[in-house]
């Protein structure tokens, strides 16, 4: 991990904070840098902006660095930070919000594999109403690393197949129209 270079003297610029607070519903302003989130974070070694510093970035308006960071994409949503924050900030949800803003603003994801995976996963839900694990893994691997990715998956895939854990036919939701409606309406809102 390399630590991100952050601006040293920042004159607070609140529009980013207001946007994150509006979209997340979280009061990021209450963070007083106690570092409990960072101390409990199992992913901190792979983060370029530690969780407590990310909260500070939001408070001060250090937007570009936040949205370009590894942090927002290596966060595994384990919710340790959220559970322990003494000020009740749902920090994991703030990370979600930062991911969503970065996608909306077309900021290239520092970990490009992660949004590719999420889109493959959501694509599977949109098609079947449920995740069809095998096909989802192949779609993701192909989009991420082309045939090399699919090839890497083959060993584990065959092992799973032999253990009877791969379904040949996807299990579908019967009222798939309802799922498509949910996607359509929430995509419009988002």
């Amino acid at each position: 991990m390399t630590v991100a270079e952050l601006p040293q003297l920042v004159v607070p610029e609140s529009s980013f904070k207001r946007e994150v607070e509006r979209l997340s519903g979280e009061n990021v302003s209450t963070c007083f840098q106690c570092e409990k989130c960072t101390n409990g974070c199992p992913l901190h070694s792979w983060m370029d902006i530690l969780p407590h510093r990310m909260m500070r970035c939001v408070q001060l308006g250090v937007k570009e660095e936040a949205l370009r960071s590894d942090t927002i994409w290596v966060c595994a949503s384990c919710e340790t930070c959220t559970a322990r924050c003494p000020n009740g900030i749902d920090i994991a949800h703030v990370m979600d919000t930062l991911r969503q803003i970065s996608q909306r603003d077309h900021v290239p994801a520092s970990q490009r594999s992660v949004p590719i995976f999420h889109n493959a996963f959501l694509g599977s839900i949109k098609r079947h109403g449920r995740v069809y694990e095998g096909a989802m893994a192949i779609t993701y691997s192909f989009k991420n690393e082309s045939w090399a990715g699919v090839f890497k998956l083959a060993g584990m895939g065959m092992a799973m197949f032999r253990k009877g854990k791969v379904n040949i036919i996807p299990k579908r939701v019967r009222s798939l129209g309802q799922i498509k409606d949910i996607f359509r309406r929430t995509e419009l809102k988002g």
Binding site: A83, P115, A137, I182, T186
Partner: protein, 283 residues
């Protein structure tokens, strides 16, 4: 006892042995499981990472179905459980969500392991006991999302859950205590940053060993497949041999209660748990 169940997408795939063993053990315990009619994926980490409204709506549709069925809902997967609880909190607060017309809110949502310990109970479990899990030294691994965050999950003891420990102890296992019960296994990064996930898995396996455990017991399809399926790669990478059986708690319940299908379930694991059980004269 009648309850509804939200199986989740893995139970019929990568977690097939979990699905099979939980069906067997609940039936032995006299619990009738009613699968939610036409349930859909809860959205998991991908939905909440990309679109909040979508994430909540996908989970909420299932609660609408459960609410109509009118029975308490048990959930065998930690990630599904947490997503359903997020939607529940918003529905109970009176929010109108996509995918749900009406929510009465009388049903309770519980992780399967808590349901079996709190609602079915020790007496009923012990009445089925055929073979004590004598000599087995497990650590219980709960993972992240049945515990955290407690304001969503309503976990009684989010830093030190005990229901699985209690079940294993009552079945005669010598349960070891450790500090990693709810530490993250990196499940959501297993395909995107497998290097990170392997590091987190290895830490859990090392800490289990340090606690004097010879196996890990899990209650979540993501946790189990993550810990079970990557040990060969971790061994190659680290030069240390990893061969730690990762059981579903329902499999060990089935074993202790003499269910005849145990060998079929265990045959589906990547890291073969049968040699350990043979050494302990449990199979």
């Amino acid at each position: 006892m009648d309850v509804s169940i939200y199986p989740g997408c893995s139970l019929d795939g990568t977690a097939k042995e979990y699905g099979e063993s939980l069906e067997a053990i609940t039936s032995m315990l006299g619990v009738n499981l009613h699968e939610l009619k036409d349930w859909n994926c809860c959205g998991a980490s991908s939905a909440h990472s990309m679109n909040n409204d979508l994430a909540v709506a996908l989970a909420a549709r299932n609660l609408g179905i459960a609410d109509q069925m009118g029975m308490d809902l048990v959930v065998p997967c930690a990630a599904c459980y947490q997503r359903l609880k997020v939607a529940e909190k918003r529905l109970v607060a009176g929010e109108k969500l996509e995918g749900v017309d009406n929510y009465d809110g009388k049903i309770h949502i519980k992780p399967l392991v808590d349901f079996l310990w709190d609602d079915v109970g020790e007496k009923q479990i012990l009445s089925l006991l055929k073979k004590r899990l004598e000599g087995l030294n497990p650590v219980c691994y709960y993972g992240c999302l049945t515990a955290r965050p407690p304001k969503i999950t309503d976990a009684k003891s989010p830093e030190n859950p005990m229901s699985m420990d209690e079940i294993m102890t009552c079945l005669g296992a010598n349960v070891r205590q450790w500090s990693y019960k709810t530490d993250c296994c990196g499940g959501s990064l297993i395909l995107t940053r497998p290097d990170i996930a392997r590091t987190l898995i290895r830490k859990l396996l090392d800490m289990a060993e340090e606690a004097g455990a010879d196996c890990v017991v899990a209650a979540c399809p993501m946790c189990q497949s993550n810990l079970d399926g990557r040990q060969r790669e971790i061994s190659q990478e680290s030069g240390k041999e990893y061969n730690v059986p990762i059981f579903y708690f329902t499999e060990l319940m089935g074993l202790a209660c003499g269910n005849p299908s145990v060998k079929k379930w265990l045959g589906r694991h990547v890291t073969d748990p049968r040699p350990l059980l043979t050494r302990k004269s449990l199979v």
